[in-house]
Amino acid sequence: MPENIIPNATQVDAQIVKTSKLASLYKFRELGLLAFIIILAIAVQLRNSSFLSGENINDMITNTAILSILALGMMIVLITRGIDLSIASVIALSGMITAQIVSANQNLNPILVILLGIVIGMVAGFINGFLVSKVGLLPIIATLATMNIFRGITYKISGGEWVSSYQMPESFVSIATGKTFGINNLIVIAIVIYLIFFYFINHTRTGRQIYAVGSNPESARVSGIKENRILMLVYTIMGGLAGLSGVLWVSKFASAQGDTASGYEMTVIAACILGGVSIAGGAGKISGVILGAILIGILNNALPLLNVSPFWQNAIQGAIILFAVIMNTLVKRGVDRNNLMRRKI
């Protein structure tokens, strides 16, 4: 029977494969963003030829590493339809506590310090997760409150004092400035975390359940996914990454203050949004988040290189973020329309 109805099955198969390959290119949702980054990089390079030099690229990636680590955590939070406004405060808190501890015990092993920072962050994140999943608060409200609380605790602990570079041992500062295999530690840490995350999100059951909870909580619940546990996990991971970033931040800038990273949560959220992570949940890819973080990194790096007055940088950044997001939307609309037109009915 099949032979009669489909005379040339192999041909049809080939055709389907061909179109689906083309479609998969169109389906790369961050196409507009990638194009934008390339155009931007070329434009900056034309104005200042040192932009694409190896040294500057290295600098740029080093400076973007912390942002990209945080953006990963924020991505999984956003995927579950949540948001975490408290990360900047967690950075400050973990940075302040670890900085005070290392300044009191000068010969503490840096690995131990990093672990300590992660634990502090995870506790903070666990509190967020508890408030969101068990108590049932809206994420934006719960993390708004904990943002205030963690920031307040940081100020309390610091007593209004800074921990400056001369109080920090060499081993601590070298966490962020040292090199492994000739590559800056920050970059190495970011790459390792990205690899772990790539595996976790795409190839483990829990990772896929995060997407399931985000795209449709009801059906996730019905199909036996423990939603509360996933939410708790997601916020704890976010907290852990923020705690890690706190240590890296303090080590990189060699000072811990009460207002460390104030307002940084918005930059991280901006990177995620630029990378196509949907605030409505369920959608977001690691490739997009990398591009989003890179775009923000380029903006931070390129504007001073172009001798743009520091007072203009904020406005230009805001305009470019808006422009990039809107352009990405328009490209997506075009792609969707194309896909619809090519669909055989």
Binding site: V135, I140, I149
Partner: protein, 340 residues
């Protein structure tokens, strides 16, 4: 709204949608607003026991001047949150309109009366841009758009004034921040008037009902003829306009302005609205609740400031209060306390 099911005289089931809940005393006293009143009284008692200077009329009256300026934004923010959106650019809008007003007066020689009007216009314009972008690009949520404009507006303020401060306003301009009308601070009178206007708009007008309808179900309201886009734009313009009003009072109270004023105001305002019982999930909220919440947070900060508790501790207190207040109705209480 609830369904009422009854049999008509032919024995068919009649369902009618009640527009208003029937009035019961139990329902009346189990409202969230009473909880807020209790919290407000508790704040008053705590403050009064901590400081002898708190609980007297001049202190309570003049205390309002310290916190009411940002409270104007709470009302349109409540509307926006009822619409399931959020506007995080309001703090930057305050800064931009304040900076534009100061520059108009000091550098361009515009008369102050006109500069005040320009301040309001700039605020409304910022809101209009937000609103238009939000309805043009529906795939992007309001968080994304206003995150972008938040950075942009603040950036423009920096472009205009760089790191300078701008002051030297005429004498009468101080009236906004420090003036009295019949022994009552002008800002308090205006705040109450604005609250009444917004209360009437939100709870008594068609426009207000439509806002709730959109918040409950945007698709259904669109199909039943509610002009969703127009309402959204109007509400965002209102938010911008109120940010302009806040800029007036803030600038007047401080006597000068800088590009970094009103930093993080958006989060304060969202916290006040959330404490007042407005849900960011949309469709729920009352103006009276936000008014009480404004006074709770305001008097808490003012009272603890009187006994020299540092601002950092206040952060913890306000955060804890927010969690406590929002979490309370979710906790399983004995049956008679449970919120309906």
């Amino acid at each position: 709204m609830e369904h009422k099911t009854e049999l008509d005289n032919q024995g068919y089931i009649q369902r009618s949608l009640l527009d208003k809940k029937e009035f019961t005393f139990k329902g009346f006293f189990l409202q969230w607003e009473w909880m807020l009143v209790i919290i407000l009284i508790a704040v008053m008692i705590i403050n009064a026991t901590l400081s002898p200077y708190f609980l007297n009329y001049p202190s309570l009256r003049d205390g309002t001047m310290t916190f009411l300026d940002k409270a104007f934004i709470v009302f349109p923010m409540a509307m926006i949150m009822i619409l399931r959106d959020i506007d995080i650019s309001v703090g930057s809008t305050v800064a931009l309109s304040s900076v534009v007003m100061a520059t108009m007066y000091n550098s361009l020689g515009v008369p102050m009366e006109l500069a005040v009007v320009i301040c309001l216009v700039v605020g409304a314009l910022c809101g209009l841009i937000n609103g238009l972008l939000i309805i043009k690009f529906k795939e992007l949520s309001a968080v994304i758009i206003t995150l972008g404009t938040m950075i942009l507006y603040r950036g423009i303020a920096y472009v205009i004034l760089e790191d300078q401060a701008s002051g030297n306003f005429p004498e009468w301009f101080g009236f906004f921040g420090w003036g009295y009308v019949y022994g009552t601070p002008f800002v308090l009178i205006l705040f109450i008037c604005v609250a009444i206007v917004f209360g009437v708009i939100l709870h008594k007008s068609t426009f207000g009902r439509e806002i709730f309808a959109i918040g409950k179900n945007p698709t259904a309201s669109r199909f039943s003829g509610v002009k969703v886009d127009r309402i959204k734009v109007i509400v965002f313009v209102l938010a911008g306009l109120m940010a302009g009003v806040t800029a007036l009072f803030l600038t007047s109270r401080m006597g000068s302005t800088r590009p970094n004023v009103a930093n993080m105001y958006e989060l304060d305002v969202i916290a006040m609205a959330a404490l007042g019982g407005v849900s960011t999930a949309g469709g729920k909220g009352k103006i009276i609740g936000t008014v009480i919440a404004v006074f709770i947070i305001g008097y808490l900060q003012y009272g603890l400031g009187l006994i020299n508790i540092p601002a950092q501790t206040l952060l913890i207190v306000v955060g804890a209060l927010l969690i406590f207040a929002v979490a309370l109705p979710k906790v399983r209480l004995p049956k008679i306390f449970r919120k309906k």
